[in-house]
């Protein structure tokens, strides 16, 4: 089954503790919601193969702990990531306010500048919403991110979020290829064929 996999993509989920990162991931990989999910320690890891536009991609997803104390470990996982999902909890404004810090971290530790970022506002099934959809939208626009609201509990938007992200990564040239070819600068185009005289090319009289 791995044979027709186009590529393996490394994706990272970050955000404040308790916003539902692990729940979103579990929903995506196992299509379940487990209220008995323990707070993540360090990083966790899941794999899923999905197909977008007929392209199969294997996703290696790293779920990081939002807990402050574990954060010293996580920067390493930013390395080589092609996509990052930044999650906040729409029912807790403080998790939205902290997004700036996360972006800072992202900027500091990401090894590539063409990484695709997605902002996810989670827990929209809950009633006591504190962050308006438009605010999320505005934030995402300001920082050129993809944006979606979701609920790990009701499954809203989860599949879609991951698919969008993968699609975007695949569309970004040079991001999913291990090497990006033909981007070289051509400096020595048509150097003078002086004296050679084999005239398939362009030349001056002398």
């Amino acid at each position: 089954m791995d044979e027709d996999v186009l590529t393996t993509l490394k994706i990272l989920i970050i955000g404040e503790s308790g916003v539902g990162k692990s729940s979103l991931l579990l929903r995506f990989t196992d299509d379940t919601f487990d209220p008995e999910l323990a707070a993540t320690i360090g990083v966790d890891f899941k794999v899923k193969t999905i197909s977008v536009d007929g392209n199969k991609a294997k996703l290696a997803i790293w779920d990081t702990a939002g807990q402050e104390r574990f954060r010293t470990l996580t920067p390493s996982y930013y390395r080589g990531a092609q996509g990052v999902i930044l999650v906040y909890d729409v029912t807790r404004r403080d998790t939205f306010v902290k997004l700036d810090n996360w972006l800072n971290e992202l900027e500091t530790y990401c090894t590539r500048n063409d990484i695709v970022n997605m902002l996810v506002g989670n827990k929209i099934d809950k009633e006591n919403r504190e962050v308006d959809r438009n605010e999320g939208l505005k934030f995402a626009r300001k920082h050129s991110m993809l944006f979606i609201e979701a609920s790990a509990k009701t499954c809203d938007g989860v599949q879609c979020a991951f698919e969008e992200l993968v699609e975007k990564i695949i569309q970004t040239p040079g991001l999913w290829e291990s090497e990006n070819q033909n981007k070289g600068v051509k400096l020595s185009h048509r150097e003078e064929g002086q004296g050679g005289g084999a005239c398939g090319g362009y030349c001056s009289v002398l």
Partner: protein, 1023 residues
């Protein structure tokens, strides 16, 4: 034939190609290609704008066809034009083909750079059939004829009006014959190429004679012939400007006078003049016959008088450039296979019986007392000891670096070794960094190199320089060996490594840099531990608290400074709380005990009931929180710092974690593996807060998992009621489990999370086994980084906008290449090549500026003009000289020629300047101002009716070029073609084949012109 692409013929024709000859197949393939490329019919483009051949874009399309097993390439060359109504591509009756009309267009005579067929015939579009292999050639006359008849047939069959050429003879001769067919008209493109020039063709009047007889005009008098002439003069001898750029005097650099910074400077510039020739083209674009005289004995064509001057410069091909060489040579090390040992002689690293390579051995040393620190460290000292060690194994004369050089380099790398106060480690934190926000400074980020003020970067430059000037690979190996010894020395003696930002390894830098940072982290921790040990051991009774605090400040990196806040004094002796010190996180004196439970000092704290324990390892009191059970203030504990990691370790770790798989057990194991830090924090917390509970811990550690709600109690009061979040309450989840296991132990007595000893030995081992090739790969990004900065710096002096753009491209290209773990050599080479090109470009600009004396120019406006002129020379193939010979630039060019002529004639150079008077004076002088032209080009044109006076007037053109080596006459013969009558064979055309070539043949050449054979005729009668 060719039926396969003419659908209507299918109706009646049985397409039987079983008997088709190779030749027929060839023709049909040519037709197929012409059809595929949609070159059928006539589409008239816009009249050619002035200079469009140069300013426009030329493109080409190629295909390969074969004649039997001989491969030909067919190439369509065309000037890209905005798509004028393409749909109007139907056959325009009675309009002569574009290419014939273009013969008369004078807007693009003498293009500076063009395909020779464009230069000769003024074509905007044509197709060439040439042998595919470069060395192949169509030589025999019969083969040439066969090809040309194929062309003729294919054109006739398809109705293609684009000229179709065949390249014959050896490619270097640039011999092309071709044909163009239009309604009622055809052109035979023929040419003559001779090695020796017949005398009568060296001047205009002779050429006019040929032209006139060639066109065989029936009218008298002849219509006027328009003439365009260009003479090109070459200047090779630049006289007063001699180039040789001195390679930097390296001995002066290491002589001791010059500071280390000088040593880090990169060489720059071309070693030879990167501008080899100047070509001056003097043009008379529009003359009519009779206006000027140019014959055997006299010529009006004085270059000074020419209305147009244009100049091009010929650049030296791949001039040797210092910076480029410098980087290239370094890059070459990447391919060397030898290990340091092999280069320097066996076992250079085995000093005094120490096996550095053997970690276990090295580790055992740790149980011995730490070596006595040398308080005044000096480089010469270090070098001396290192030398001695090496000398044991090989004679000192073998040492590729002499002492002076080595000393200078080590001083440059380790400036702290000289300064008195260096030993307290301030060297590593001094902040003389360039503005760290600047784009240049942050380049390391993009290149994954190292900051330009870092040790790693400097090391890269030094190795580069050693490789270039001081014994190549051997020198590199030697310096590296010294460097590794120095690293070990610093580790063993607790001297921080200078030139590295403190804190954990910066993952944005190259791995080697991270390794050095890692080593520094280890040294920091070890130093802190040893200092702490010393203090407590040497002074059990007391020490001034402030001193202890200060010591901590210097020893401990920012993140450990918490200890400072404990405002400590010395507690019990070292032994009292440890018997195997390596196991523990730190050994700073305990402070809490004296403050709170001084009387208990000296007692060993055995495990007691939590609540009755005295608190230990408090950092500070949490603002408002109190413990839930006993209402004591909640203290934040001193915790262990997480282990610093280099990217390879992280990679390893994440691989291990990923390998655990995605099952529940896997996830559990993964969490457990990462819970060391959590457990340690819990223990610290318990130690600092006797009587605490998990709820207390969570309120500090993960506040969102403690949920508080306002509830109304039985008395009707609103009270806050808190509880753990659902996920924390899950029975036996990892958090609960860890909490239950955690014992109240302060951080300093816990097992170390980070084993600095082991990690340091790992780093040192890693460094020791790096071969020069590995090293070069590690450091190449730094070298490229430095080279780019150098090029940038040099460019800023010259301010060349095109170079600015190229540098930007190089940066973005390099950052893409260098970010991948193992960039391909080819890509690295390309980057280096690009840098070299830019260097050559800058060197060229400098050379030209010197030659044209832009600096000497006093008038501001003239200077600006001249500078613009010079920069155009660099960027454009050919530059028009404003004012021709009379303009400012023109006068300078004139002078350059005069000087060269004078030198060639050995005239005393003094009077020349005075002599620059009137043109008359100049003319009288025996030495002419210009050498004989290296190239003379003539284009003659007219329109005449042929063959009879009442026939349609057709364009006629003749191009001739005369250089030292050869003479070429390209004269398309435009004549009324066959009427497209059925049965009108090629033979008819053949009979019309003009006799114009008689002149040429009379001149004694072997004709390259083709006479069509009769087999061409047979072809048309193909079944």
């Amino acid at each position: 034939m060719a039926a396969d692409n003419e659908p209507e013929s299918e109706v009646f024709e049985i397409t039987d190609f079983t008997t088709a000859s190779e030749w027929e197949r060839f023709i049909s393939k040519v037709e197929e290609v012409l059809n595929d490329w949609k070159l059928i019919g006539n589409s008239l483009g816009k009249p050619l704008e002035k200079g469009i051949f140069t300013s426009g874009t030329w493109e080409e399309k190629s295909d390969e066809i074969s004649f039997a097993d001989f491969k030909f390439s067919v190439t369509h060359h065309y000037l890209v034009q905005e798509s004028t109504d393409k749909e109007g591509k139907e056959l325009l009756e009675d309009v002569i083909p574009q290419s014939m009309q273009d013969l008369l267009c004078m807007n693009n005579d003498f293009p500076p750079r063009a395909h020779c067929l464009v230069r000769w015939y003024g074509l905007r579009e044509f197709v060439v059939i040439a042998p595919a292999a470069h060395s192949d050639a169509v030589l025999s006359e019969s083969k040439c004829n066969l090809l040309l008849s194929s062309v003729s047939i294919a054109l006739g069959n398809t109705g293609c009006q684009v000229p179709l050429f065949v390249q014959i003879h050896h490619k270097w001769r640039r011999m092309y014959v071709g044909e163009c067919q239009g309604p009622g008209v055809r052109t035979d493109f023929e040419m003559v190429h001779l090695r020796k020039v017949p005398n009568q063709y060296t001047h205009l009047s002779g050429l006019l004679d040929i032209f006139k007889s060639k066109i065989g005009c029936p009218l008298t008098p002849l219509p006027p012939v328009s003439i365009a002439i260009r003479f090109t003069y070459v200047l090779q001898d630049w006289q007063q400007y001699f180039w040789p750029q001195q390679p930097p005097d390296i001995d002066a650099l290491v002589g001791g006078e010059v500071g280390g910074l000088e040593f880090g400077k990169l060489p720059f510039g071309a070693c030879e003049d990167p501008i080899s020739e100047l070509h001056l083209a003097t043009t008379w674009p529009h003359l009519t016959e009779g206006i000027i005289v140019d014959n055997d004995v006299y010529s009006d064509l004085d270059p000074i008088q020419a209305p147009h001057w244009s100049v091009r410069v010929r650049k030296a091909e791949n001039p040797q450039c210092l910076l480029g060489d410098f980087v290239t040579e370094f890059f070459k090390i990447c391919r060397r296979k030898e290990s340091t040992d092999e280069i320097l002689g066996r076992s250079a690293f085995e000093e005094e019986g120490k096996e550095t390579a053997d970690i276990t051995h090295a580790l055992s040393k740790l149980t011995e007392p730490a070596s006595v620190p040398i308080h005044k460290l000096s480089v010469s000292n270090m070098v001396h000891t290192a030398k001695k060690k090496i000398r044991k194994h090989r004679g000192v004369e073998e040492s590729p670096l002499n002492n002076d050089v080595l000393n200078t380099i080590l001083l440059f790398l380790f400036p702290d070794a000289v300064s008195e106060k260096s030993l307290d480690g301030t060297a590593s934190t001094d902040n003389n960094n360039p503005p760290s926000e600047s784009e240049d400074y942050n380049l390391y980020n993009q290149f994954k190199s190292a900051p330009s003020d870092s040790l790693t970067y400097k090391l890269a430059l030094c190795l580069c320089m050693i490789n270039f000037y001081h014994g190549g690979l051997k020198g590199v190996a030697h310096l590296w060996q010294e460097f590794v010894l120095e690293m070990r020395f610093r580790w063993e003696n607790n001297f921080l490594i200078p030139g590295l930002a403190s804190g954990p390894p910066d993952l944005r830098c190259c791995l080697l840099h991270q390794k050095l940072q890692m080593l520094n982290c280890c040294i920091e921790r070890k130093k802190a531990r040893d200092e702490g040990k010393k203090t407590s051991a040497s002074d059990v009774t007391n020490i001034y608290p402030g001193d202890a605090g200060k010591a901590g400040d210097q020893l401990v990196p920012d993140n450990l400074k918490e200890t400072d806040k404990e405002k400590g004094e010395v507690g019990k002796s070292w032994d009292s709380w440890s018997d195997s010190e390596e196991e523990f996180f730190e050994c700073l004196s305990d402070t809490e005990e004296l403050k709170g439970n001084g009387q208990e000092s000296g007692k060993k704290g055995g495990p007691k009931e939590m609540a009755s324990l005295r608190p230990e390892g408090r950092l500070y009191q949490h603002g408002k929180l109190t413990l839930l059970h006993n209402g004591e203030p909640l203290y934040i504990p001193v915790t262990q710092e997480p282990a610093p990691m280099t990217e390879d370790l992280l990679e390893e770790q994440s691989e291990v974690l990923a390998k655990l798989g995605t099952s529940a057990e896997g996830a559990h194991l993964r969490a457990r593996m990462q819970s060391a830090c959590l457990l340690s924090d819990m223990e610290s917390f318990k130690a600092a807060n006797p009587g605490c509970s998990l709820e207390d811990f969570v309120r500090w550690y993960s506040p969102r998992d403690y949920i508080e709600e306002e509830v109304i109690d039985e008395k009707g009061n609103v009270v806050l009621k808190g509880e753990l979040s659902a996920r924390m309450k899950i029975p036996s989840n990892m958090w609960v489990e860890a909490w239950e296991t955690a014992k109240p132990i302060p951080a300093r007595r816990q097992r170390r999370l980070f084993d600095d000893t082991r990690e340091a030995e790992k780093v040192l081992h890693y460094l020791a086994i790096q071969k020069p090739a590995d090293l070069a790969r590690h450091l190449l990004p730094c070298v490229i980084h430095a080279a780019v900065l150098k090029v940038k710096e040099e460019e800023s002096l010259e301010n060349i906008s095109s170079v600015k753009k190229i540098i930007k491209q190089i940066i973005s290209h390099s950052s893409k290449v260098l970010h991948f773990p193992n960039p391909e050599d080819k890509k690295l080479e390309e980057i280096i090549h690009q840098i070299t090109n830019v260097e050559a470009l800058i060197a060229r600009a400098r050379s030209l500026k010197a030659k044209f004396g832009t600096e000497k120019c006093e008038q501001e406006e003239e200077k600006e003009d001249l500078e613009r002129f010079v920069s155009c020379l660099l960027e454009q193939p050919e530059v028009l000289v404003t004012g021709a010979g009379r303009g400012h630039a023109g006068r300078i060019i004139h002078k350059l020629f005069v000087n060269a002529q004078r030198a060639a004639a050995m005239t005393p150079p003094e009077e020349e300047l005075k002599r620059m008077g009137s043109p008359e004076e100049r003319r009288q002088n025996s030495v002419s101002d210009f050498p004989p032209p290296a190239g003379r080009e003539f284009i003659l044109r007219t329109t005449v009716p042929r063959p009879a006076p009442y026939s349609k007037a057709l364009p006629q053109r003749m191009y001739s070029v005369l250089t030292k080596e050869d003479f070429r006459l390209a004269a398309p013969q435009v004549c009324p073609g066959r009427q497209l009558l059925p049965g009108a064979g090629i033979e008819a055309n053949l009979q019309e084949k003009p006799t114009h070539s008689r002149h040429v043949e009379a001149a004694g050449r072997s004709p390259a012109r083709i006479q069509l054979g009769c087999n061409g005729n047979n072809a048309t009668k193909n079944p």
